[in-house]
């Protein structure tokens, strides 16, 4: 907080002295209160990325390097061309802080926000995904409360707007107890034509600026950056810090917006999110190299007596700004009338490159539009935390339980057990596109109706791995999430990420961010995956204990499958088929579920990534797919290979005889092999008649592949070829444990 004198009155602002002086330089005069507060919002970390922007610069060249990338980082959403005249728009965003104090509305408005970002690109939102993090559920009513209402908030908002939630991920770890993570992703489907004629910019002078949707209230102003006492006489308790979502209005906005875009008269489109009208008007004109005159009192407000900066800064939900060609005004307004959506023409663009806002004839804002859109940046210090070396050198203790007891424990653990309790609450089928549904594959697969194309999407990252090594952990996250879409037959096309970290002003917290960005960047460049967007959430740090969340660079991958016959699913299909393990297993138990569930330790060496080997495995898998050799596929991650195989057995009530002879050498212990979380491995099912061909191809592609067993009709897994004596697992029991963990904790 800085104290400055504006109009003879002392006010607290979030800007530094330096920033405040910079505005004076730009304006060549003293800014007034409204202007100062607008700048202070636009320069906030949330809107300006002032800590992260220097680092994120390395992501910026996707549009240049990949011709199918139509919009890269910097736009409201990444957009790729998928052929046949269609584009996909997608983005992931965090809504952590609001959800931590009001899980239901916090999560719901998170969904509302991400939907608007996709809509801005002129695309119809067709899928949502929701990677989440909470403290451990067991004996923790607070975590249970957050989990229950975050899921309900997402469900109520997503279901009502008719967008299927096709996937997600949940991890429970005590570092998230006070700072839960609610990341939400949305995918939109549009045509190239609609995308091109409705950019998030106002390029043309003389166009109308229209506000449409919910009314503007005082809610959310508090959520931005500055002290409230200058705002209104209302006391603080009277003012909700968290917004109330209205999915019904949102659904109407989606339909009205898409209809309006179809007319061809909409020449610019922007949602009102953080920073409200200030952010929308300054970005539309700043990026479009135009200016605008805005009549503030045309904005329809919910409460009487709102001041000019309250209107400019309100973050009321469910609003969109349109830039409309003069000759299409009535056509567009007719659409809003049909849907009975409140709307107002609030101004016009011009070529002044200045944003002028009038309040009843008084000029209250008069600033170059670019001044707001381009904020200064900060270089932050980074330093590797001193505790890491100790943690990394932690050894895996000897185990005392039997291997089968360990596996029963693992499958029932919160991070490995079934997440059906979550996805049953989401309508994951509305839209009649969901071909591989929640639980049937590693990713959600949607068809593009009218083509023989399918898209697959998955989200995730392993926070425990990233905590020990953010560079390798971020890469490992990419391997896993790409692996998820590949397991369903899709080629990874593009990535977006959501960086969830602690306080960037603390060098140790910034180090995590910096290393994770490097990891994502290096991996994506070597595997040729464009990074088309991202979002940063800092300050996920407990102020009392001064501890940050485990670093979580959340990753979303969107992939494409050409042709229905190339879709692969997770469940094992037929008795007698062979089971293969692809990829070498290393003693990588650092940050594993085995360490935390069985030994209650967090350390050890986490998995590292060898890009060359990963690439070879992916190419090999696509070769198998081309030849129709794969009946089922699932990537190996938390809990290790036996857990993976059990999950594949459940659906069709099959079992497996496994023999791990030759799978690992003298140096590895049984637990190091069985519970290793080495990334990039897959378990596949294939017909025995193809055995020789598969082995030949594996040699040809120089990849590690072992036949490890066969499918049987009895619901059990037998394991031999290990150093200890062979043992047997009861799959009926495993399934019961797998299914009941979360319901037992949540549905008391």
């Amino acid at each position: 907080m800085t104290k400055v004198i504006i109009n003879g009155e002392e006010v607290d602002i979030e800007l530094t002295k330096w920033e405040f002086n910079k505005i004076k330089d730009i304006l060549n005069r003293e800014p007034n209160l409204t202007e100062t507060q607008m700048v202070s919002v636009m320069y906030s970390e949330h809107c300006s990325y002032k800590s992260s922007r220097p680092k994120l610069k390395i992501f910026e060249d996707a549009e240049k390097n990949y011709d199918y990338v139509l919009a890269g980082p910097g736009q409201d959403a990444g957009v790729i061309d998928i052929g046949d005249g269609y584009v996909l728009a997608f983005r992931i965003e965090s809504h952590n802080h609001p959800s931590a104090i009001e899980p239901y509305h916090g999560a719901a408005t998170g969904i509302g926000g991400i939907i608007r970002d996709i809509l801005c690109m002129g695309a119809r939102p067709i899928a949502l995904l929701d990677p989440l993090r909470f403290g451990s559920l067991k004996d923790n009513p607070h975590s249970q409360w957050l989990f229950k209402y975050v899921v309900k908030g997402i469900a109520d908002y997503g279901n009502c707007t008719g967008i299927p939630t096709i996937g997600g991920e949940v991890e429970f770890d005590d570092s998230f107890e006070t700072n839960c993570l609610v990341n939400v992703a949305c995918i939109g489907l549009g045509t190239i034509e609609d995308f091109e004629h409705a950019p998030s910019r106002a390029y043309n002078p003389g166009d109308y600026v229209i506000l449409m949707g919910g009314s503007t209230g005082r809610d959310g102003i508090h959520g931005v950056t500055f002290a409230s006492r200058t705002l209104t006489e209302m006391s603080e308790e009277d003012r909700p810090a968290v917004q109330i979502g209205d999915p019904f209005t949102k659904k109407m906005i989606i339909e009205a917006t898409l209809d309006a875009v179809k007319t061809g008269y909409v020449r610019g489109l922007k949602d009102l999110g953080g920073g409200g009208l200030t952010c929308a008007t300054s970005e539309l004109t700043g990026d479009g190299n135009t200016g605008a005159e805005i009549q503030l009192r045309k904005v329809f407000t919910r409460e009487p007596g709102m001041t000019s900066y309250e209107i400019m800064l309100s973050e009321s939900q469910e609003r969109m700004a349109f830039i409309v060609k003069p000759d299409g005004l009535e056509k567009v307004l007719d659409i809003f009338r049909k849907y009975e959506m409140a709307h107002a023409v609030i101004g016009r663009t011009d070529d002044s490159k200045v944003l002028k806002v009038f309040d009843n004839g008084n000029l209250v804002v008069n600033m170059p539009s670019k001044a707001l859109a381009e904020s200064p940046t900060f270089k932050r210090e980074e330093k590797k935390p001193s505790y890491l070396d100790n943690l990394l050198s932690q050894k895996t203790p000897k185990y005392s339980l039997s291997l089968e007891e360990i596996i029963y424990n693992l499958i029932a653990s919160e991070n490995i057990c079934s997440k059906e309790w979550v996805y049953r609450q989401y309508d994951h089928e509305v839209g009649v596109r969901s071909v591989v549904k929640c639980g049937d594959g590693d990713s959600g697969v949607l068809r593009i109706i009218g083509t023989d194309k399918f898209i697959a999407a998955s989200v995730g990252v392993n926070s425990k791995h990233c905590f020990l090594d953010p560079y390798e952990g971020a890469k490992g996250g990419l391997v896993e999430v790409c692996g998820n879409v590949i397991a369903n037959g899709a080629k990874p096309m593009a990535m977006v990420n959501c960086c969830n970290f602690g306080n960037p002003e603390i060098p140790e917290s910034f180090w995590y961010f910096s290393k994770a960005v490097d990891g994502m960047n290096d991996f994506c460049r070597s595997l040729k995956i464009p990074i088309v967007g991202g979002n940063v959430s800092f300050y996920n740090e407990d102020e009392v204990t001064k501890t940050a969340i485990k670093a979580t660079p959340m990753i979303m991958i969107v992939g494409i499958i050409e042709g229905e016959k190339n879709i692969i699913t997770l469940p094992f299909k037929d008795v007698g088929n062979d089971i293969f393990l692809i990829g070498e297993t290393k003693a990588e138990l650092g940050g594993s579920e085995y360490h935390s569930v069985l030994h209650n330790i967090e350390g050890g060496v986490p998995p590292t990534v060898d890009e060359e080997k990963i690439k070879a495995i992916w190419e090999f898998l696509f070769e198998l797919y081309n030849r129709n050799l794969v009946k089922a596929n699932h990537d190996v991650n938390k809990g290790g290979v036996v857990i993976t195989i059990a999950e594949m057995c459940f659906r069709n009530k099959l079992g497996a005889n496994l023999d791990f002879n030759n799978c690992y050498g003298e140096k590895l212990r049984d637990d190091e092999f069985l519970f290793s979380e080495t990334v990039g491995r897959f378990v596949i099912e294939a017909s025995p008649k193809d055995l020789d061909l598969i082995l030949d191809l594996a040699t040809q592609f120089k990849i590690d592949l072992k036949k490890i067993g066969m499918l049987i009709s009895k619901p059990e897994i037998t394991i031999s070829g290990i150093k200890s004596k062979q043992f047997k697992l009861d799959l009926v029991k495993m399934k019961r444990l797998y299914d009941s963990t979360i319901p037992n904790l949540m549905d008391i």
Binding site: A155, C160, R424, D427, V430, V432, V435, I449, E564
Partner: protein
């Protein structure tokens, strides 16, 4: 003959385009998406009230839509025997508009539930079951939070053979486990006395194509083909 079906777009209906897709592209009949304020019954042979969250389900699922002018138009169709079909939210609207008896209450679990269930056909004389047999077990998905059917007049429903579908096991048993929401007597769908108005909670439009359905079941198609058949027989 040139059959025309209207699918009503209530504010925040969201299975409207899905129903249009199936009717137009799978069943191959002409189906129009009609905004609820613009609907005129005289143009159509049947009307479908699709799933979704009309008016956000605020106050009670279906109640605000039940006051839409589209319902007055649909009432004319109801009276002269043309099919009036309500799927999910459409079913809720039909009960709130009193086209069908009873009410749909919050699921016993208080949670929204999206999953595939089995339905036993109890009456194959209705406008959307005439291509099925009594006792057939169908696979349809559900996706609702307020689907618990309740009536204070069960006996009348049973006596008049108005129960069309019940939740069952795969082998057709009407067990408690097979009941996904606590509905009275496992009721999933009912009809009016004339059997031209049917409401059901499950989604036939999500079960009308092979690629979306469990192996060997495309039962939603039978539902829509029955409607077409009923229209043809009614006209001739």
């Amino acid at each position: 003959m040139n059959i025309k079906i209207a699918v009503i777009q209530f504010p925040a209906a969201n299975c409207d385009l899905d129903a249009i897709h199936v009717l137009n592209n799978v069943i191959n009949v002409q189906a129009d998406l009609v905004w609820h304020n613009h609907f005129k019954e005289s143009n159509y042979d049947a009307v479908v009230l699709p799933g979704g969250f009309s008016f956000g389900d605020y106050l009670r699922a279906g109640i605000i839509a039940a006051h839409s002018p589209a319902i007055d138009e649909a009432r004319i169709m109801l009276k002269d025997g043309r099919p009036v079909i309500g799927i999910c939210n459409g079913f809720q609207i039909l009960t709130e508009a009193q086209f069908l008896p009873g009410a749909l209450l919050r699921n016993e679990s208080l949670k929204f539930s999206c999953k595939w269930v089995n339905l036993k056909v109890e009456n194959n004389k209705t406008a959307c079951t005439n291509k099925m047999n009594v006792g057939d077990v169908l696979a349809f998905p559900i996706a609702h939070g307020e689907g618990r059917y309740y009536t204070d007049n069960l006996k009348e429903l049973e006596d008049n053979n108005q129960i069309v579908f019940r939740y069952s096991t795969e082998s057709g048993d009407l067990t408690e486990e097979a009941n996904p929401n606590g509905s009275l007597e496992n009721i999933a769908g009912i009809s009016n006395l004339d059997q031209n108005c049917i409401g059901l909670m499950p989604h036939p439009e999500r079960a009308s194509e092979e690629i979306l359905s469990p192996k060997g079941t495309v039962h939603g198609k039978l539902f829509f083909e029955s409607i077409i058949d009923f229209i043809k027989r009614r006209v001739s």
